[in-house]
Amino acid sequence: MKTLLSGASRAVLATASLTAAISAFGTAQAGEFDGVTIEAKLIGGQQYEALYARIPEWEAATGAKVNIISKKNHFELDKEFKSDIAAGTTDWCVGSNHSSFASQYPTLYTDLTGLVDKGVVAEFVQANIKAATFDGKLVMLPRAQFDVSALYYQKDLYDDAEKAKAFEAKFGYPLAVPETWEQVKDQATFFADPPNFYGTQYAGKDEAIVGRYYEMVVAEGGKLFNDDFSPAFDSEEGKRALQWFVDLYNAKAVPAGTTNYLWDDLGNGFASGTIALNLDWPGWAGFFNDPSSSKVAGNVGVAPAPKGSAGVRTGWSGFHGFSVTEDCANKEAAASLVEFLTNEDSQKLESAAGPLPTRTAVWDYISEQAKDDPYRREVLAAFKETAATAFAVPPTPLWIEATNLIYPELQAAILGDKSVDDALADASEAVDDLMQEEGVY
């Protein structure tokens, strides 16, 4: 009897652990990929390492081995992928991908639709799945690194009665956390005291400034590209959007070097306490409120991204993901790894450190976890609100190339080398030439 019982309990336990293994590792069976080695090229950086520490669990469960052959930031990975495509060395299996870069590699990655269960795909935020799908191909599964920007601000600026009085006298409405970009402009100009304190700042070069401009055009009611990808930003909405950047620069409400700034400069700038309002990514939330890294810790407020004159919020968004190459020798194993790295447990682990998830259930989970932490609750509420109307970059393989044509013209207008009209006309003409040369239309 004892033997029977113990046998039965062993069977129950085995079934239970198998069920747990199946739920944790998707469709992979124990030892299913014995002897398989998956080569991976992954994004590197401290904030991404915690997830990679889970890889041995997948190896133990499936019998496969993961060999990380490259670890770089996305801009470097992008160059490496392009060189791989050119050299035909694309037989590694799993690559980190990003929604802003993904459309450039139409031949590199395989369609995950047949490799990942439909039910699994349905568990992700569907807007993210849509942005990960190009020409009907699901090219990546999103990880818990969803990015959209909300407005960080120094709270004490809004507690000062004298400031509030002076602001209302000057602008005719009460000083409160801004809800529109017009209010951001007023307040940034009001708070600025260069060279010691600035009202706001913005990313000023490369794809970064085009992304910021793009979301501002949308918030003004315009479009960056028409449906056939001809440029649409040389419009009234596009001009209004660019004028916002120009006005802030001319008013010295932003640091003089802002056209040279990228994300790190902006994050460190706000943390240094010299910036009043800062539209930035969720990954900075912890950094800004940590006294060891930030002078504004304890004084940080977070509000949803403001709206443009069309009543639309800015919401340029992107996310990281994992893809499987077309030339991978064992696509099933690679897809199983991708599924594991983006499953619920993986997303819970990553989002515990601050980044936003891309699975519906994990959004609920982190909201529940944050209920006793007012700052975290405020952060999540602001980003959730902004994410609701977020939008990805236009799905064209020429996105990065188009941004390289647009950003010098935006800079030229901001720095006063060209008028807004001339800069946008020149940028539009250059993008039009590119699209025609590439046979887009």
Binding site: D78, K205, A256, T259, N260, T274, E401, D417
Partner: protein, 298 residues
């Protein structure tokens, strides 16, 4: 059966020929060929899409390309001349030192030991408008109460890049000219002194002609270096803002590796190579001429 017997000279040269073909000739021919195609890195089959002189025509009629070309020539001219003057001054001063000269010579070479990427980061921080060393120093000393946009302003951005180039490479001139100073025979200098020449006259008519071959060698080496300037500029300004510091190789690098338009980038590269060839020929001509004047060469 007769075995193919290669002449001994060919057998001896074969390893060199094979290695040179693999690392120089084949990439050179391939890149030249690809400059006549619409080759994009992300579409490997586009390497067979022959477009004739389209890429060359496009580059030659592109204002942005010529602006970058002009800026590269400007950088080359200003940086090389200033490096030469500072290097000459440095070498003359070090040559007068009687104690600790070896230590000074080693210290002179320190900037050359840094990777250009690190030099770029170093000067990007030094010239940062908000947290940079220069602005903080100027503001603390009460010289200005403004945040000077060193890496943004049209003139200042180019100045900052030239400053970084000069900092890192003046010692190339210094070391080579110092070697020249050691090689000068004492007799002509003593003869000049006996003839009553002033210090300036001795320098201008005796020392300098002897130094010119060394100066031209340094010029030729550095002109090739500066004509392909990339790393420092890429880190400090990435050619911006608004293309104010765009040089040939930042433009070509972005076109080839970020935009993936390798065919077009190669065409621009081949046009740019003429710049490097022109300066090299020019400096070698000058070198031969100055050696001739000294009776050192045919």
């Amino acid at each position: 059966m007769n075995r193919l017997k290669l002449p001994p000279w060919l057998v001896l040269l074969l390893p060199a020929i094979i290695i040179l073909s693999a690392v120089v000739l084949i990439p050179l021919v391939l890149s030249l060929y690809s400059s006549f195609t619409s080759y994009r890195l992300t579409r490997p089959d586009s390497i067979f899409n022959w477009v004739g002189f389209f890429n060359y025509e496009k580059a030659l009629t592109d204002v942005k390309f010529w602006a970058a070309f002009g800026r590269t020539v400007l950088l080359l001219t200003v940086a090389l001349n200033l490096e030469m003057l500072f290097g000459l001054g440095l070498a003359l001063m070090v040559s007068k030192v009687t104690q600790g000269q070896r230590l000074l010579r080693t210290m002179m070479m320190f900037p050359m030991m840094f990777s250009p990427i690190l030099v770029g980061f170093q000067f990007k921080f030094i010239f940062n408008d908000n947290v940079g060393l220069v602005n903080n120093a100027l503001q603390s000393l009460g010289i200005t109460d403004q945040a000077i946009p060193w890496l943004v302003d049209g003139q200042l951005a180019m100045f900052s890049i030239i400053f970084a180039e000069i900092w890192t490479a003046t010692s190339v001139f210094g070391i080579l000219i110092l070697a020249g100073l050691y090689a000068i025979p004492r007799d002509p200098l003593e003869a000049a002194k006996v003839d009553g020449c002033t210090a300036w006259q001795s320098f201008r008519y005796v020392t300098l002609p002897f130094l010119m071959p060394f100066i031209y060698i340094a010029m030729a080496i550095r002109s090739l270096d500066v004509a392909r300037a990339y790393d420092i500029v890429q880190i400090m300004t990435n050619g911006g803002p608004a293309r104010r510091t765009e040089l040939l190789w930042t433009l070509i690098g972005r076109t080839g590796y970020v935009d993936a338009r390798m065919g077009y980038a190669n065409a621009m590269g081949y046009i740019s190579i003429f710049l490097a060839i022109f300066f090299t020929i020019y400096f070698f001509k000058k070198l031969t001429q100055s050696r001739k004047e000294l009776g050192m060469g045919a």
